[in-house]
Amino acid sequence: MKKMTNLHNHKYITAICLLFLAFLHFSCKKFVDVGAPLSEVESSKVFANDQATLSAALGVYANMGLSNLYIYSGGATLYPGLSADELTYTSSNTELLSFQHNAIIANNGTGIYSRLWVPAYSNIYNANAILEGLISSSGLSDTLKSQIKGEMLVVRSLNYFYLINLFGDVPLELTTNYQVNSTMARTPTDKIYTQLIADLKTASLLLNSNYPSSVNTRPNKWTAMALLARIYLYQKDWTDAVATSSAVINSSQYNLESNLGNVFLEGSAETIWQLANDYHNTGEASAFVPYSSSSTPSYTINSYLLSAFEPGDQRMINWLGKNTVNGVTYYYPYKYQNRSYSPITEFEVMFRLAEQYLIRAEAEAQLGDLNSAAADLNIIRNRAGLPNTTAAAQSTLLTAIASERQVELFCEWGHRWLDLKRTGQANAVLGLEKAPYWNPTVILYPIPLSELQLNPNLVQNPGY
């Protein structure tokens, strides 16, 4: 009897254990496969769907316009404006003063790092992710593929343009591979420019002259060429600069606004690309326009810039604001005027026609085509209510064009700072105006200190 019970017990036990193990085996692998979270989409699925790919591209633009005083919300205007001779800061924030005094330290957390370097590389990553997604995609329409590729090449080129002009050599990243990117050394600017020129040429072939949406809030062929013309100018490739800027001017899609007050508004005929924003007006307006007529502006127009305006220049009336506080008059930049939360009437003007005329004028003057140069210069002068230029010789014409750039493109995308540096005049001009702070190494911003600590192959700029 006992033996039978023991046998019975053994069978019982074995059966239970086997059932148990069977239960576990079948629940094994599948259970820990949870897939993607409901609120997110796998990349491979995004780039198999036209609408999703477009959303990813729009995400790049929405991200570019976020956050106050980041590179495309006023940062690229404010910081170089302080570094050059455009703006004077009237308050006491030490980080902002360090830009004005050309005494930036590598550990500068807000300006250099979180508002310029980080957003630029974040935009570059987003663009690279889409470019890689397009290559490996299947199921996307060809027209959309070309369109988005062209747009992302423009975005990536624009961000690298600002990085190299503010920081000098920077790591040129063309993929999202973090293992390569995290240890990449600084690439020489000439090599980066070569890449940008190639990319923008590709983009101008991929993009159409009309806009994908009905408004010019995304880049088109002429946007790519506008940036390309600027780069040719910076690289002193005068012939190509003339040809490319002419293409934009002769496209007859853009016209200079005769009323200066309309140039920076949403419906301006002069803008080639404006960065839309669903949430607020421009960072420039918030920073520069004082919140009441009796308060001191935080940033005032530097006296050197003020004296650069010729008498009768309408831009002094339309693009400069004026507050008188305790008997003292302060001028502030007034290109963008709406600092209220809503309605949104002003978008960031990324590229506009006036700059193309000035690019062409300078390139033509350099090539010796002085009549055309003067003609282009006069178009801008006349629009501002000024008479034709009296400059006739090449050197005086070039000086006149440089001065015109100073008053037409003031407090806009750091043009003054970049112009002084690319023409080799920064030391001569700012060395006098900004004594005793100036020294030749300050023409480049320092690479952020935390980046140097995390990437063993990055080397700091001289003087920091």
Binding site: N9, Y12, I13, I16, L24, F31, V32, A36, P37, L38, S39, E40, V41, E42, A56, L58, G59, Y61, A62, N63, S92, N93, T94, L97, H101, A103, I105, N107, W117, V118, Y121, S122, I124, Y125, N126, A129, V170, P171, T176, Y178, N181, S182, T217, A276, D278, Y279, N281, S286, Y291, S295, T296, V325, S340, Y341, P448, S450, E451, Q453, L454, P456
Partner: protein, 641 residues
């Protein structure tokens, strides 16, 4: 706050073969603490105008807006920004036990837990500085989060007597599911503060839903052989799987082996050392795993951005992904000794452990040029944690109406980076040193304020006239040298008093660490120690000279170099009276009359006293601008039925 806790319900069948036990609880909590830590405004000018004569909040003085001055805020305005969080927590557990045979029993444990949070944050127009109001209008946010999890754990237990000893075999499994879902509605551009609680009144509403799922499963087995209650041998094996890893990396095997010897039961101990009531020596070696990193880090994902572009929805990359990271394995060796004297009136235990991990799961920091700040990786370094833990418990007095027990515990930890191939070409090159703890202080050696130049000075090790990473030295350790506590429990008739002293010996950030968060000359208050700063050559001071902002050497010394030196660290050791609890237990007679099982009334106090040489806000938080642990006193009653 309302809590109903641990309602256990037990039942067993007539033949006692089958038992059911259920316990559960529910709590409901409402939290209205301010959402901003106001301690960060501790250095605002003491005469800053906060309200005008009519009692309204003020945001400017003499035409100068506070927002333009080094971002000064009116802290009273922040108090008008309310945040109300209601948390409901339900937890429940069901255990079913069936004794199939005398030696074989089956058990299954089922748990369900639900944690709901409902948080409403309001930012009214009256609390916003008009200077920034133009781009930061009145807004409110409504966040609902639901975290629920269930756990199923079946087990089979088998015991058998073999050769005068007991063999227990345990076979078990775990299945776990954790789901979290959060819905956030942000509403902004309200025209009227009275309507802040309704997003329908807002000019712009955005919504965002986030959801994550975590699955974990394991099977494990355990063999335990206990010979005559004196010699113990134990072995476990387990296979774990987690959804946090990519395909091919989800599963890993672990195991442990342990032995114990209760030598107090040996004849020669019983006869010769009769005062020793308990003595045990134990040793174990095991490999355990860790998957405590976020979910979905192995997938390349796009997330819905809450920002539209011209009204169209947008997508953005969620994060950097790494498909190759895997289970972290920790290998731990432990040896322990437990001793009890005089019928366990004095109880002592000491254990020494050495734990090594060669693939710690970390958020590896990356330079921002990669587009992000970190990625999940297994650290390719061998890290070791060793330590000694001591516990001593004494029952000093044990009479019917007077009892006094003291319990002392201390831990002496030690951490070391044993090896890190590729350290010099990694993100940690300036942070870790092989052979040193991970919490090493590695930087410039602080030499004090130079009496001639008045600037913080540091040692230039290689004498090349430059201060850079070549001058870094190993200067200290931020992990505590030792820490522990002493608990005294005294019972006198119906009264009971417990008090706990906590002690810690450590180095931590000193007052120089945040001194120049607001540089002198900006509109911010400075601590009175700056009155003793260096002012002329020959002065010996602890604070460097004040400058008008053009002295690059002084700025770099204070802003950059000081923070990577040991000048910002000092002694942060302390002894703290962490907890005092005084309670009155209701007498038996009263308890019976009220139909209770037990009842007590109590008063608790926390952080009553701190003994420390630390000059700053608190040696635990080590930051002027963060709220330190507060002195708290609470009272209440507890009845059980």
């Amino acid at each position: 706050m309302v809590t109903l806790r641990r309602i256990p319900i037990n039942h067993s069948s007539e033949n006692k073969k089958f038992t059911i036990a259920f316990s559960g609880g529910y709590s409901n909590d409402k939290n209205q603490l301010p959402s901003t830590d106001l301690t960060q405004y501790i250095n605002l000018p003491p005469n800053l105008l906060l309200r005008d004569q009519s009692g309204n909040l003020v945001f400017q003085e003499a035409g100068v807006s506070y927002a333009t001055v080094n971002n000064i805020v009116n802290p009273l305005a922040l108090l008008e920004q309310t945040s109300t969080a209601i948390t409901k927590n339900l937890y429940s557990n069901l255990q079913l036990n069936y004794n199939i045979l005398p030696q074989l029993s089956a058990k299954i444990s089922l748990s369900y837990n639900d944690y709901l949070t409902d948080e409403v944050s309001l930012i009214p127009q009256t609390s916003i500085d008009p200077y920034i109001a133009s781009y930061t209008p009145a807004s409110s946010s409504f966040a609902n989060t639901d975290l629920n999890s269930w756990l199923i754990e079946p087990q089979l237990n088998y015991t058998k007597t073999i050769c005068k000893g007991t063999l227990s075999v345990l076979l078990g499994a775990t299945l776990e599911n954790k789901n979290s879902k959060s819905t956030v509605i942000q509403a902004t551009n309200y025209s009227n503060d009275l309507l802040l609680n309704n997003p329908a009144a807002a000019g712009l509403v955005t919504a965002d839903i986030e959801q994550t799922t975590y699955h974990y499963e394991a099977i494990f087995g355990r063999l335990n052989y206990n010979w005559q209650g004196k010699y113990i041998l134990d072995g476990t094996f387990r296979r774990d799987g987690s959804s946090r890893f990519g395909p091919n990396n989800q599963f890993a095997n672990f195991g442990a082996l342990g032995t114990g010897w209760i030598f107090s039961d040996e004849q020669f101990i019983r006869q010769n050392i009769s005062s020793l009531s308990f003595g045990k020596l134990r040793a174990s070696y095991g490999i355990t795993g860790n998957d405590q990193i976020g979910d979905y880090n192995y997938l390349s994902l796009y997330q819905n951005s809450p920002n539209t572009y011209q009204g169209s929805p947008t997508l953005l990359p969620a994060k950097l992904y790494n498909p190759d990271f895997h289970w972290q394995t920790n290998k731990k060796l432990e040896i322990g000794l437990e001793l009890g004297w005089l019928k366990d009136q004095i109880f002592f235990s000491a254990s020494w452990y050495q734990e090594r991990s060669s693939n710690q799961l970390i958020n590896y920091p990356l330079p921002r040029e990669t587009g992000f700040s970190s990625v999940v990786e297994n650290l390719p370094a061998l890290v070791q944690n060793t330590g000694l833990e001591l516990v001593l418990t004494t029952k000093n007095v044990n009479k019917k109406s007077f009892k006094w027990t003291t319990s002392f515990n201390a831990t002496i930890p030690s951490n070391k980076l044993l090896s890190f191939p590729g350290l010099s070409s990694s993100s940690y090159k300036d942070e870790y040193v092989v052979g040193q703890p991970l919490s090493v202080i590695y930087g410039y050696k602080y030499l004090g304020v130079n009496p001639q130049t008045g600037i913080y000075s540091f040692q230039d090790v290689n004498q090349d006239g430059k201060l850079n990473t070549a001058d870094y030295q190993v200067l200290g350790n931020l992990s505590p040298k030792y820490y522990g506590g002493i608990l005294n429990s005294i019972t006198f008739h119906q009264f009971q008093m417990d008090f706990l002293f906590e002690f810690k010996k450590q180095e931590g950030k000193n007052y120089l660490a945040q001194l120049f968060n607001s540089f002198p000359g900006t509109v911010a208050n400075q601590p009175t120690i700056v009155l003793n700063r260096w002012q002329q050559p020959g002065d010996v001071a602890n604070i460097q000279q004040f400058t008008a902002g053009n002295n690059q050497a002084a700025i770099i010394a204070a802003n950059t170099e000081l923070n990577v030196s040991n000048g910002i660290y000092g002694d942060a050791s302390y002894i703290r009276l962490k907890n005092v609890a005084l309670s009155y237990h209701l007498p038996e007679a009263l308890v019976k009359r009220l139909g209770l099982a037990s009842g007590k009334i109590y008063i608790n106090a926390q952080n009553l006293l701190t003994i420390t040489k630390y000059a700053g806000l608190d040696p635990e938080t080590q930051n002027f601008y963060v709220l330190p642990p507060l002195r708290t006193i609470s009272a209440g009653f507890q009845f059980s039925f």
